[in-house]
Symmetry: C2
C-alpha cells in the first residue's frame, strides 16, 4: 500500500494564493494578531505528520480487526487507544474550540484541511474525534455556563469524548417520531429513557468519559419536530470538583456489523432513566442539535474528499508502476516490455477526474470554512448573517457532492488497479467501503438535496442563490479570468434550471423532490467551475514562481472544463424530465 | 432480508411478446420441433425455484463464511457442496451445451435468463458453474474429438468443473506478456509450467475433477499475443476408460481475500510441469480462449443485472414498509404517523431508475442471446455472420453497461435503506460488494470500451454500427412506435458522436481511449432506448390482456425517456471534450 502524503502544497495554494487567508484572518476579531500563515503552516504540517505516521498505519489493521463488543464493553482495534492519546495530547479535539474553555480557537478555514488529512489516513479513527468536536460546538453554543465550564475543557483536552444520539429504530430522517422521554427531576436534572441506534462512538475504550447529546421529548412536549429537546447525558456522572463519580444509567446494547468503517463503533445505546441536563431551551432541541449536525455535515463531506485523495495517491503510484500494453501514441518505456498504464488515455481520464474533483472539493471546503469563520467572527451583524446564509446554502452541497463524487473517485481509484483493486491487501477496496457511509449518515444525500432545493434555494424565493450567482458573475467581470465563457454559461444553466423548478414546484410540490438530487449535482459542478476558474486564473498569474505546480493546476482546470463540466448538460435535461413519470406507477406495480 | 423472486412475468414478456421466441426457434435447425414456449417456461420456472430455494439461502452465509484455503485444499462455505450437487443433477451446467456430448442444447436466449436468476440469488455460487459452462464451450469449439468425448459429458453433468487460467501477476490486460511455458512431450502431451493468479474456482471441493484451460507459450512461440497457445490441464489425469488416475502436477498456492464474492475461491494456481493437451492450433490460443471469454463477458454482464434485480426487489419491499415523513402531496397513510417512503419522489426516482435499467438490460441480454442463437444455428452463412457481427458489437456493451449500471442500481438499492443499507444483516451492502467485481474481471470495463470503440465501431469503418442503427431506424418507421422522436434523436446523437470520434481518431490515436468509456455509456443508453421503445409499443398494443403489467411497462418506458435517456446530452458533450486535456500533465505532475 502507498503511504499517504498530506497534500500540503495544494492546501497552501488555497490558503495563500487563492483565498488569501492571512488577509482574511487579519480583519477578523477572533484571529487578528493571533494567527499568521506560518503558524497555520506549522499546524498543517503537524497534522499531516499525525495523519501519515500515527493514523494511516492503523487504517487497514483497524478494518481487519474491527471494533468489538462484549457485555456492554467496546474495544477498539489495537493501537487506537495509543493513537488517540497522541491525538488528544496534541490538542486536536479543540483545534477550533472556544479558547475561554481551553480550545485553540483556530479558524475553520484551517480545520477543514486538518480534517481532510485525518479522514484520508483513517476514517474510522477520525469519527471518534469529529463527533467530540461537534458535541463541543453544540455545548459551547447552547449549554449553560456551568455545563460548559464542567465539560468543555475536558472534552477539548480529549480526556472525554462526545456522541450524538438522534436516530431511533423507527425514526431516522423523520426525527419528529422519536420516543425517548425526559422526565424532570426535583434537582433540575432529567431522567432520560429510550433507545438510540447508529450512535458513532456511543461506547469505546479511548476516553475516560463519554458525553452523549441526546434528543428526547419532555412530558408535555407537542407532537413532531417542535417537541424535541436536547440533553447532555454523560456516561459517568461528574462531581462538583470535576472528577468522575458513579456510572450513569445508560449502556451500549450492541454494535453494528457494517460494510466499512469497521473500526468505528456504531452503537445501540439504551438510556434507562439516565441523568441528563437540558441544553438550550425546552422543545428547541432540534435547532440546537443542528448546530452540531451542520458541523458534522461539512465534516462528513470532507470525509468524501479525504478518502478520495487517499485513493488517488495510491492509484497514481500504481499507474506509474504497473506495466501493461503500449501507449496509443507509441512506446514510452522503450526498454521495457510494456508502458506504465499512466500513459493510457482512459487511465489518465480516471486519474484526472479524481484529481479535478478532489481539488475542486478542497477549494469549496476552504471557501465554506472561510464563510463559517466570518459567520462566527465577522465584525458586524450584516456581514455575519450574509456569511451564515452562504454557509446554509452550501453545506448540503458540500456534504452530498463531496461524498457522491468521493464515491465516484474511490471507484475510479479501485478501477485503476484492475483485479488488484478488488483484493483487500491493496487498500483501495476499503476506501470504497469506508467512503460509502458518508453518502448515508448525517442525513442521506437525498435529504441534503431536498434541503438545498426546498429550504435553501426555493424557500427564500431564490435570494440566497441569486446572491451566490451574483458573486460568481462579479468575479467573472474581473480581468484575466480563465474559462470565463464556460463559467458564465454554466451559471446561466443553473439559474435557468432553478427558475424552471421553482415554476413547476408552484403547481406541484412533488417537483422539488423529483428534481433535487440531479439539481444538487448540477449545483455542485457549477460551484466547482467557479472555483476551478479562480484557481486557474491565480495559477496563471503566478506561473513563474513554481511552473511545475501551477501548470498542473492550469491543466487540471482545463480538464475540468473540457471533460467534467459538460455533465451538467445531462443533469439539467434530466431535471426537466419532471415529476410526472415518477408517479404513474401504483405502489403494487413496482 | 427479502426473499428473491424470479422475474418470470417479465421474462415471459420478453420471450413471448417482444422477441417472439417460439417463432425464432421454429426456424432454427437446432431447435425446430424440439422446443416450444411451454417447455422453455417450465425450464425457467425450475431455474427460478433453484435460485430462490437452494441458492439464495446460501448467499449471506456464504459471504460471512467465505471460501477457505489450507495446505492447498479449498473448502467452500457450508451448504455449497449440497447445492452444487442439486445444481449438477438438474443438468444446468450443460443447459446450452452440445447435445452430442450430453448437453441440453437450449438456446442462449433462454440461458441468459437462467443465468440472471442464479446471479441474483448467489453470485459466488454461480461463478463456479458459469466458468464450467464457458470452458465446455471452448472445448466443444476448439478441442479434438477425443478430448471432447472424454471431458464434455462429465463436465456437462457437473461432475467435473472448468476454470480459465489467463492472468499472471505481471500480465492481466496485456496477455502477450505471459511467461507460462508448455514443453512438448513425446506422447503428444505438453508439460505446463508457470503461475496464474485470479483463477476463479481454480480449486474447490464441489467436483471430482477440475479442468483448467491454460494459456501458455510453446518453446518456439513468437513474442506477444500471437505466440500464445491454449491447453487443457486437468487436476486429476484421466484413464482411457474415463476414470480418474493420479493427481496432476498443479496446486493451489493460496486464495485471495476480497471485497466481495467471498464464497468464490479466487486462486493462485501453480503448474509445475503439469501434463496438458493442446486445444486448437499452436499459437492461436488467444482466439480460442476468446470463445470462452466472450461467453463469460456476456455472463458477467448478466451478473450486473442479477445483483441489481435482487437489490431492487429488496429496496421495493423496504420502501413499502418503512414509514418516514409525509409525502409531498399530503398524507397517504393517514392512520399512521408517517407515510411509506415509496411515496417520496426521490425514493421513487431511485426505484424507477433501478427498474428501468434492469428491465432495459434484461431486454438487451435477450436480444444478444437471440443473435447468438442465430450465429450458431442460422440457416445460412450470411445470416450467421451478420448475427455474429451484431454479437461482437454488443458484447462489450452488455458486459460493461450492465455492470456499470448494475453498480449504480445496487448503490441506489442500498441508499433506499438509509443507514440500514450499510448494515450487513440487510444484505444490500453485500450486493454492492459482489457486483463491483463485475466491472473489473473478464476485461475491465475500460477495456470493453476500447474494444467497442476501437475494434467494433471504428476498425470496420463503422459498418457494424451503421447496420445496427439502420435496424433501429427501420423499426422506427413501423406504425405505433412509442417515443419515436426521442429514439431517433438519440440514434442521431450516437451516430454524430461516432463520426466525430472517427474523424478525431484519424489524426490522433489517443482520441479513441479518451472517448471510449463515455462513448460506451452513450451507446448503452441509446440501445436501451431502442429496446424500451419496443417494449412500450408492444405493451401498449396488448394493454387489455393484462393492464396492471403492461401499464407498468409503459410508464417505466416513459420514465426512461424522460429521466434517464437525457443523460446522453452530458455524455456526448464530455466525449467532445477530446483527448488534449488528458495529456497536458507530465507523469510527475499527477
Amino acid at each position: 500500500m502507498t503511504d499517504y502524503k498530506a497534500p500540503l502544497r495544494d492546501i497552501h495554494f488555497l490558503l495563500d494564493d487563492v483565498f488569501d487567508a492571512e488577509a482574511k484572518w487579519s480583519v477578523l476579531p477572533g484571529f487578528a494578531g493571533n494567527l499568521d500563515i506560518d503558524t497555520a503552516g506549522a499546524i498543517l504540517e503537524e497534522a499531516g505528520k499525525l495523519a501519515s505516521s500515527s493514523l494511516a498505519p492503523l487504517n487497514r489493521s483497524g478494518d481487519e480487526e474491527g471494533a468489538r463488543w462484549r457485555d456492554g464493553v467496546v474495544t477498539t482495534p489495537t493501537g487506537f487507544k495509543e493513537a488517540y492519546a497522541t491525538y488528544a495530547e496534541g490538542g486536536w479535539v479543540g483545534l477550533s474550540g472556544n479558547p475561554d474553555f481551553g480550545g485553540m480557537g483556530m479558524p475553520k478555514m484551517l480545520a477543514v484541511h486538518v480534517e481532510e488529512m485525518l479522514y484520508a489516513a483513517n476514517s474510522s479513527f477520525t469519527l471518534y474525534s469529529v463527533l467530540s468536536s461537534g458535541a463541543c460546538l453544540a455545548i459551547d453554543t447552547h449549554a449553560s455556563t456551568e455545563l460548559k465550564a464542567t465539560y468543555l475543557p475536558r472534552m477539548y483536552a480529549g480526556r472525554w469524548a462526545g456522541s450524538m444520539c438522534l436516530t431511533e429504530a423507527h425514526a431516522g430522517t423523520d426525527l419528529g417520531l422519536i420516543r425517548t422521554r425526559a422526565e424532570p427531576k426535583a434537582d433540575g436534572s432529567y431522567a432520560i429513557s429510550g433507545s438510540k441506534i447508529f450512535i458513532t462512538g456511543g461506547e469505546q475504550d479511548l476516553t475516560e468519559n463519554i458525553v452523549h447529546l441526546v434528543l428526547a421529548k419532555l412530558p408535555d412536549a407537542p407532537a413532531g419536530p417542535k417537541g424535541i429537546s436536547l440533553f447532555l447525558v454523560p456516561k459517568f456522572l461528574v462531581s462538583a470538583d470535576g472528577t468522575l463519580s458513579e456510572r450513569n444509567a445508560l449502556s451500549c446494547g450492541s454494535i453494528e456489523h457494517k460494510m466499512g468503517i469497521k473500526a468505528s463503533a456504531t452503537c445501540v445505546m439504551n438510556f434507562d432513566g439516565a441523568t441528563g441536563w437540558l441544553v438550550g431551551e425546552p422543545n428547541k432541541g432540534l435547532a440546537a442539535m443542528f448546530t452540531m449536525m451542520n458541523y458534522e455535515r461539512l465534516s462528513i463531506g470532507i470525509q468524501g474528499i479525504g478518502c478520495a485523495e487517499a485513493s488517488y495517491q495510491a492509484a497514481v503510484a500504481y499507474a506509474r508502476d504497473r506495466l501493461q500494453s503500449r501507449a496509443p501514441g507509441g512506446p514510452v518505456a522503450k526498454d521495457k516490455a510494456a508502458d506504465p498504464i499512466i500513459h493510457h488515455p482512459d487511465v489518465r481520464r480516471m486519474l484526472l477526474t479524481m484529481k479535478a474533483l478532489n481539488e475542486g472539493g478542497r477549494a469549496l471546503a476552504t471557501y465554506v470554512g472561510a464563510q463559517l469563520d466570518i459567520a462566527k467572527h465577522g465584525a458586524d451583524a450584516v456581514t455575519r448573517e450574509a456569511a451564515q446564509t452562504r454557509v446554509a446554502l452550501l453545506t448540503p452541497v458540500a456534504k452530498a457532492f463531496f461524498t457522491d463524487t468521493g464515491l465516484e473517485s474511490c471507484i475510479n481509484g479501485q478501477q485503476v488497479f484492475g483485479g488488484h483493486g478488488y483484493i483487500r491487501e491493496w487498500g483501495q477496496e476499503q476506501l470504497v467501503r469506508d467512503v460509502r457511509i458518508a453518502q448515508i449518515y448525517e442525513g442521506t444525500n437525498g435529504i441534503q438535496a431536498l434541503d438545498l432545493l426546498g429550504r435553501k434555494v426555493l424557500a427564500d424565493g431564490g435570494k440566497a442563490l441569486d446572491e451566490f450567482l451574483a458573486e460568481i458573475r462579479r468575479y467573472a467581470e474581473e480581468s484575466g479570468v480563465e474559462h470565463r465563457a464556460a463559467l458564465l454559461d454554466a451559471v446561466q444553466k443553473l439559474e435557468e434550471t432553478s427558475y424552471w423548478v421553482r415554476d413547476q414546484a408552484g403547481q406541484d410540490s412533488r417537483q422539488v423532490g423529483a428534481a433535487s438530487v440531479e439539481y444538487l449535482h448540477l449545483f455542485g459542478y457549477v460551484t466547482y467551475a467557479y472555483l476551478w476558474s479562480k484557481m486557474a486564473s491565480v495559477a496563471k498569474s503566478r506561473m513563474d514562481a513554481d511552473p511545475e505546480f501551477y501548470s498542473a493546476k492550469l491543466s487540471t482546470a482545463g480538464f475540468f472544463f473540457n471533460r467534467i463540466l459538460p455533465r451538467i448538460e445531462g443533469l439539467a435535461a434530466c431535471v426537466r424530465g419532471g415529476a410526472d413519470s415518477l408517479y404513474e406507477l401504483a405502489e403494487a406495480q413496482f
